[in-house]
Structures are given as C-alpha cells and as structure tokens.
C-alpha cells in the first residue's frame, strides 16, 4: 500500500490534490482512498490531506502517520509543522519550491532519506504560467508521477479533467505535464551526477 501525505495551507487545494491522486489511481484500476485531516481550517491555516493507494480494498481509516510520500505544497510550512514526521527512510518527498533543500534549511533532515527520491519543482511558477493563478496542487501531481512512476501522467491528466473542466482543466493538464518533464529532467541530471 502506498500512503501519500499532502501538506499545504487552506485554499491551496491540498485536499483536492489528494482527491485527484485517488482518482488517478482509480483510473489505473487501483483502489484508493483520499481524505482530509478533517477540520474547520480557514484560508491560510496549515492543512493536511491523505491518499492511500493499494491493489485491494482499503479498510483502515486512520490518518497517515507513516507516509511513503510527502507532497509539500507550501515550503513555508517546513519550519512550522513537523512535516517529515513518520516518513519512511525510503520515502518520496516533493516540495513546491525553486530553492534547494539547503536553501530551504532542511538539508540535514533530507540527508536521512534517499536523495534520488527527493526533489522540488517550481509548481507555483508553472501554475502561474499556465493558469495565471498560484494553484500548485495539480502541477505537483504531474511532478509526483515523474518522481515516483507510481502513477502515469495520463492518469493525472484524467483526474484533473475529472475534477475540473474547460480552460482550468487544460491549463492544469499542461502545467502538470510541464512539471512532469521538469522532474524527469531533474532526475536524469541527478542520475548523471551519480554516474559521473
């Protein structure tokens, strides 16, 4: 079972991101369960959302305490909430930022994990470019598809179109695709760096 935890702030579509991920998994014929950290959080407040993906029915409904994947939509949370809590040592981390982990001041934390599973993507900028709005949730899913290979970009696009329609949908699809390519590129470079 794959357990994904999303961190962001109210209004950034964190819950929607988890839901889209579950839809993407569903379209790939898998079982998925997405749910928010139910609360009455208002815009700006820290928000957590979860998504479980598996090949059979998912029964447990406890919050994801030991995630396999962390998707951090808002890097400003990094020093406010213990976002890395319970993350598996071989877990994935995707951070919405242009700055490096060291610049973000999480270099030492990150060093505990497998670096090829850690990356960041300028999701907000990409979203601005394609949608004119700083909504990074769908974009990050594109990035996650590239990072983990656990879902396809097609599935992500399908999920986006399931949730949105018209220009918003297409803008998100395009943005997700760009993020996908960006992350793929990064991983490639990372791989080269390894082999070098």
């Amino acid at each position: 079972m794959l357990q994904v935890r999303f961190h962001g702030r109210g209004g950034q579509g964190v819950v929607t991101a988890a839901e889209m991920l579950s839809i993407a998994a569903f379209t790939q014929g898998r079982h998925a369960m997405a749910f928010p950290s139910f609360g009455s959080e208002r815009t700006g407040a820290p928000v957590v959302a979860f998504c479980r993906i598996d090949d059979h029915e998912i029964r447990s409904r406890e919050p994801i305490l030991a995630p396999d994947v962390l998707i951090i939509q808002d890097p400003t949370l990094l020093h406010q909430v213990d976002v890395f809590q319970g993350l598996h040592t071989d877990g994935y981390v995707l951070i919405n930022s242009t700055r490096s982990f060291d610049e973000l001041g999480i270099g030492d934390i990150i060093s505990r994990f497998r670096h090829e599973r850690l990356t960041n993507v300028a999701a907000t900028e990409i979203a601005m470019k394609h949608l004119g709005r700083p909504v990074a949730n769908a974009v990050l899913l594109g990035g996650f598809a590239a990072l983990s290979g656990l879902i396809t970009l097609d599935a992500v696009s399908h999920a986006i179109r399931d949730k949105f329609s018209g220009k918003v949908a297409e803008g998100n699809v395009a943005a997700a695709a760009e993020a996908y390519d960006f992350v793929k590129q990064e991983l490639l470079e990372l791989a080269h760096a390894q082999t070098d």
């Binding site: 079982h31 998925a32 369960m33 139910f38 820290p46 957590v48 998912i58 409904r61 305490l65 399931d162």
Partner: protein, 417 residues
C-alpha cells in the same frame, strides 16, 4: 458503475436514485456536501419531480419532512450533531406518527465544547426516539443503506436514520459502485403511504392520546421494530440478489468463528479494526470483529448468538454515556444477560480523536490478556486529565474544563491526530 467519488456525493446520487419527492436542507458540518449535491441534482433537473426546500432550521427540516410525508410524498433530509438535537422533538413526532422519512446522520460530536469532528454521540442521543438506526461501515454501504432504508421505512411506515461517520466517510474519496436507475426502480417500489392527507378520505392525524391508549401505542411501535428485525436481513438479502453485493443487515461477523475475543463496534472504525484484527491473528490471537449494522432495532438474538461462543467481548464505541460508560456496551450487555463473559468497554475517537491501528492493537492485546480496565478510554491524555483533576481537588471553582484543557494542549490544529 464504479466511481471514485466523495462519500457525500455518493450518498447524494444514491438518494436521488430513490426518487425522493421532497428534500429539506439545512446545512451543518459534516452533512453539507450531501444536501449540496442533492440541491444541484434537483436544480439541474437531473432529479425531478422533486421539491428541494432550504429551510431555516433542522427543526423546520424535519417538520417540513413530516408534512410532506403525511401528504404522501417520499421525503428525505440530512443532519448531524447539534442539528439532530435541535430537531429532536420533531424526530420523536415523525416516528410517533409513523411517517417513513429517511434521514442521513453524518455523525458528529455534540458540544459543549463545540466540536465538528466525528463520533456517535448524536445518533446515540436519539436511540430511543422510535426511528430505525442503521450504521454504515464504508461509503459503498452508506449509499446502499439509503436505498434499503426507503424500502424498509415505507414497508413498515416508520422513519429510518442512516448513520455514517462525519468526515471519515462523508469527506472520503473512495471507490463505489453506483447502481443504475433501472436497478433501483426495480428494487424500490413507489411510495404507497399507510395514511395520507387527502380530501377524498379526510382523516385527522396526530390526535391527543391519553392514559387509556398511550401505552398501547408505544408497545405497537416496539412491535413494529421487532418486525423490522425480520425485514432488515430479508431486505439486505433482496438487495444482494438485485445488486450483487452484501450491504446492511443486522450484524456482520469478521473472523469470529473460532474467536475467543470479539470486538463489537459500529460504523467506519470497523475497517480499521479488521486490519488490526488481521495483524493480531497473524500473531496467533483468536480475535474477531462483530459489526452492528442495525442499532435500532437492536438485534439482541443475533448479537447473543455470535458472542456466546467467545471468552471475552470488547465493545469499542464512539459514544459515551457520562456517568455510566458505554452506550453500545449497555445494549450489548442486554444481549448477553446471563452469559459469563469478560466484558470490556473501550471509549474511543470522541470528538474526532483519531483511532489508530497501533492504539487498537495495544488495547486489544491488553484485553486478550484481561489486563484492560472494564471501562477504558483509548488514547486519553492522562497528563492533562490528572492536572485538571488536581486543580479541581485544590479549588472548587476551577473554571470551565474545556478552557483549561485547551490551555494545557496548546493549539489544536497543529496536531495531525
């Protein structure tokens, strides 16, 4: 048709397939997405003919449903928590008048302190109101139960509450199988009211009944629920026939056959429990889960039959009778009267406190070792509690408990669970 949608949306679509004629909506978390969905379906013309009425309170919501049902319309509403309490008077009235209204309760705690998260205090507070109360384990069952609820309620001319855990189910995206309109139409006949307000046959409904007949009326309500004990499994059977899946019924046993320890629970926690039980089984513990689908009528016989083979019973519940202990466990005890079993009551998940597999496993191991307190509060923060108790011992007037606790806990939202 398989879909990956939110639980509330699934229920909304299922209710729409039942062709309700009058829907009364008053918003309260976490029920909102259900009535929002239905409102959209009516406004878009997808659900027609149907009157969608935005009322001014839950009290009005149930009252409008009463009027509509008495006038022969299939009526539906949804609520939760404080809303359920606010309509309590009308709830008793609807069952007293024998009006087959179906209502979703998106289970949520009751304040003060105000708390929007999930537990079963609301439904349990109305356990004696004369309604049938069905509990859903997951969203598939939640939507299936609504289809069965209309059939059941209208056959017996009594109202039905479908209880689903707020947020945990209402806000969860998961895979569900949505039946087709044809399937539902074939399963659920049009509403044929027992009694109806019609100038062609002008009856007076809602007479004042004095001591000479009141007890009889009450007994007859009980007799009806006893009848429901037979019909609920039958209807679940018919449903399985028509839709090809198990849903509802009175109780459901999971790995109970050779179980020495059986955990009794209801609602969405069953899923987590099953996973926990599987793990404990792997460690060789003979443990199973008994989930109660129908809390009213309470299936005394079915529960007794399934539990009497076990050594111990752990009732895990999201409700709490202050000053006594478990609500569900008190009911289970009635079923077990005369049996010499170890009985434990575990209060868990009040006000949305996350119920984790880890905590469950630990608690159940203690139970299996018979080290568990008869009344246990799972994951209770004794540090806070004891501090407050000391404060109270020190001074009579220590201020409102909730305030002090918050002071000790610090900000609530920063915690993941």
């Amino acid at each position: 048709m398989l879909k990956q949608i939110e639980g509330s949306r699934a229920v909304a679509e299922a209710v729409a397939l039942c062709r309700p004629e009058v829907i009364c909506a008053y918003p309260i978390s976490p029920q909102t997405h259900i009535v929002e969905g239905l409102g959209e379906l009516v406004k878009s013309g997808a659900l027609t003919p149907c009157e969608f009425i935005n009322v001014e309170s839950e009290f009005a919501a149930m009252s409008v449903a009463i009027g509509a049902s008495a006038a022969g319309a299939r009526s539906y509403t949804a609520t939760a928590s404080q809303g359920l309490l606010f309509m309590a008077e009308a709830i008793y009235n609807a069952s007293g008048l024998g009006l087959p209204i179906v209502m979703t309760v998106a289970n949520r705690a009751i304040g003060a302190p105000i708390n929007i998260w999930n537990d079963h205090s609301d439904s349990m507070s109305q356990r004696d109101c004369g309604w049938i109360q069905l509990f859903a384990e997951n969203n598939q069952e939640a939507l299936d139960l609504h289809i069965q609820a209309f059939k059941l309620g209208e056959e017996l001319s009594m109202p039905v509450m479908v209880c689903m855990d707020g947020f945990i189910l209402t806000h969860a995206y998961e895979r569900i199988d949505m039946p087709t309109q044809q399937q539902v139409d074939a399963f659920l006949p049009p509403y044929e009211p027992r009694q109806v307000l019609d100038p062609a046959d002008p009856v007076s409904i809602g007479a004042m009944v004095g001591p000479e007949a009141f007890m009889e009326v009450r007994y007859l309500a009980h007799a009806k629920q006893t009848l429901a004990l037979e019909r609920i499994p039958q209807i679940a059977g018919e449903f399985a026939q028509a839709f090809g899946r198990e849903s509802g019924g009175l109780v459901r046993a999971y790995r109970c056959d050779d179980a020495e320890t059986i955990v009794v629970a209801l609602g969405s926690v069953i899923g987590t429990l099953k996973d926990t039980v599987d793990e404990l089984r792997n460690d060789g513990l003979k443990i199973g889960v008994l989930s109660i689908r129908s809390f009213r009528p309470f299936p005394l016989t079915a529960v007794r039959d399934l539990l009497q083979g076990a050594k111990r019973v752990v009732v895990l519940e999201k409700s709490f009778s202050v000053g006594l202990g478990g609500v569900v466990s008190s009911n289970v005890r009635v079923a077990l009267s005369g049996l010499q079993l170890h009985g434990y009551t575990v209060i868990a998940g009040l006000g949305g406190r996350a119920i984790t597999k880890a905590s469950l496993a630990a608690t159940l191991r203690e139970a299996v070792a018979d080290k568990l307190q008869p009344l246990t509060f799972m994951d209770l923060d004794w540090r806070i509690v004891n501090r407050q108790l000391e404060r109270e011992a020190a001074t009579r007037r220590s201020g409102p408990i909730a305030e002090n606790l918050l002071r000790d806990v610090g900000a609530v939202a920063s915690k993941v669970h």
